[in-house]
Amino acid sequence: MSTVMRYSTPAIVLHWLVALLIFAGFPLGVYMHELPLSPDKLKLYSYHKWIGVTVLMLVAVRLGWRLTHMPPPLPDSIAAWQRRASAIAHGLLYVLMIVIPLSGWLMSSAKGFQTVWFGVLPLPDLVGKDKALGDLLAGVHQALNFTLLALVILHVAAALKHHFIERRPFLQRMAWGGKE
C-alpha cells in the first residue's frame, strides 16, 4: 500500500470545523422554524444565524487556502469520470457553503431582523424590509439547504465507498493526526 497523501493541516481543521457547524446549523434550522414564538425560539434563531455567519467567514478563509494550496492528488486508480464528478461536487459544495449563509443573511434583513453576529457585530442589511422578498428568500434558503444535504450525503458516501468498499486508506486524506 502506498503512502497516504493528506490534505494540509489548515485544510483539515477548516474542513472539520465547517462540517461540525453545518451538522449543528442544519437540524437547528429545521427544528426552530416550526416552534411557537418564545424566548427559546429567539435564542435558537440567533444561534443559527451566528453559526451561518461563522461558516461564511470560515469558508472565505478556506477558499483562500484552497486556491493557494493544491489538494493531494487522488489515487491513480480512481476513474476519470469520478475525478470530474468529484471536482464538480466539491465546487458545488463551496458555492453552497457561501450562498446558503448569504441567502439566510438577506432573508433576515428582508424580514426586518438585522443579523448581529454573537449579539456584538452587526452585519449591514443589504436589502430593506420587504415581506414578499423575505418569504421568497426563505424558500430559496430551504431549497439550497436540501441541495446541500443531498450533496453532503453523496460526499460522505463517496469517501466511505473509496475507503471501505475499494479498501483504500481514503479517509486518512482528511483525518486528524498521521503523517503528511
Binding site: P39, G112, V116
Partner: protein
C-alpha cells in the same frame, strides 16, 4: 383717564395677539415609534392609531397639557408573529387593556424650545410617573413636538413569565414620538 386705560389694555393685549396656542393635532403628521433589542438585535416598531389632545402656548408653557391615547391593536412590533404575540396575556393583555394612555401633569420650560413634561403613563392597568423631554419646533403651518424617553417594559408587566428574561428581550424600550399641531 379713559385714554390711559385703553393704552394699558392694548399693551397687555399685544403679546397675547402674537402668541398662538397649539391645540389642533394633525394625526397624519404625528407618529409614535419605539425600538428595543432582541438578542442584541435592534427591532423597530410603532403604533399607527392614537389620539392626542393638547394645548400649548409658548408664552405660557406651565399651562400646557397633553393627553395621548394609543390603540394597542395598531401595533407594529417588527413582524406579524410579534404583533399577534403582543396581544396576549403575557404582553399587553389587549382584550382587557386595549389602550395605553399618557396624561401630562406638569410642563416646565428648559430654554431653547426645550421642555420637560411630567405625566402619568398607564399601560396594562399600571400607572407610572414619567419625565419626558420634549423639543418644540415652530413651523409656518404646524409646529412639531418631538419627544423621546426610555420605558422599562417590566415596570408595566409587559412581557411576563417566560418573557421576563431581559437577556432575550431587553427591558428598555426607546420611545420616540412626534406630534404635529396647529393653532387654528
Amino acid at each position: 383717564m379713559r385714554m390711559t386705560g385703553l393704552i394699558l389694555l392694548a399693551a397687555l393685549a399685544a403679546p397675547a395677539a402674537n402668541a398662538v396656542e397649539f391645540h389642533t393635532v394633525l394625526p397624519k403628521q404625528s407618529t409614535i415609534h419605539f425600538e428595543f433589542r432582541q438578542m442584541g438585535v435592534p427591532i423597530k416598531g410603532g403604533f399607527k392609531r392614537f389620539t392626542t389632545q393638547m394645548a400649548f402656548d409658548p408664552a405660557r408653557p406651565e399651562a400646557a397639557r397633553a393627553q395621548i391615547e394609543i390603540d394597542l391593536a395598531s401595533i407594529d412590533a417588527g413582524s406579524s408573529e410579534a404583533d399577534e404575540e403582543s396581544a396576549g396575556k403575557l404582553w399587553f393583555d389587549r382584550s382587557v387593556y386595549p389602550k395605553a394612555t399618557f396624561v401630562s401633569s406638569q410642563v416646565r420650560a428648559l430654554g431653547n424650545n426645550r421642555y420637560e413634561m411630567r405625566g402619568t403613563l398607564t399601560l396594562k392597568g399600571r400607572s407610572r410617573d414619567m419625565v419626558v423631554p420634549v423639543t418644540f419646533v415652530p413651523g409656518n403651518n404646524a409646529a412639531v413636538f418631538d419627544g423621546a424617553f426610555v420605558l422599562r417594559r417590566l415596570d408595566f408587566g409587559i412581557g411576563e413569565g417566560m418573557w421576563a428574561d431581559v437577556a432575550t428581550v431587553a427591558n428598555e424600550v426607546q420611545v420616540r414620538f412626534r406630534i404635529a399641531a396647529t393653532g387654528n
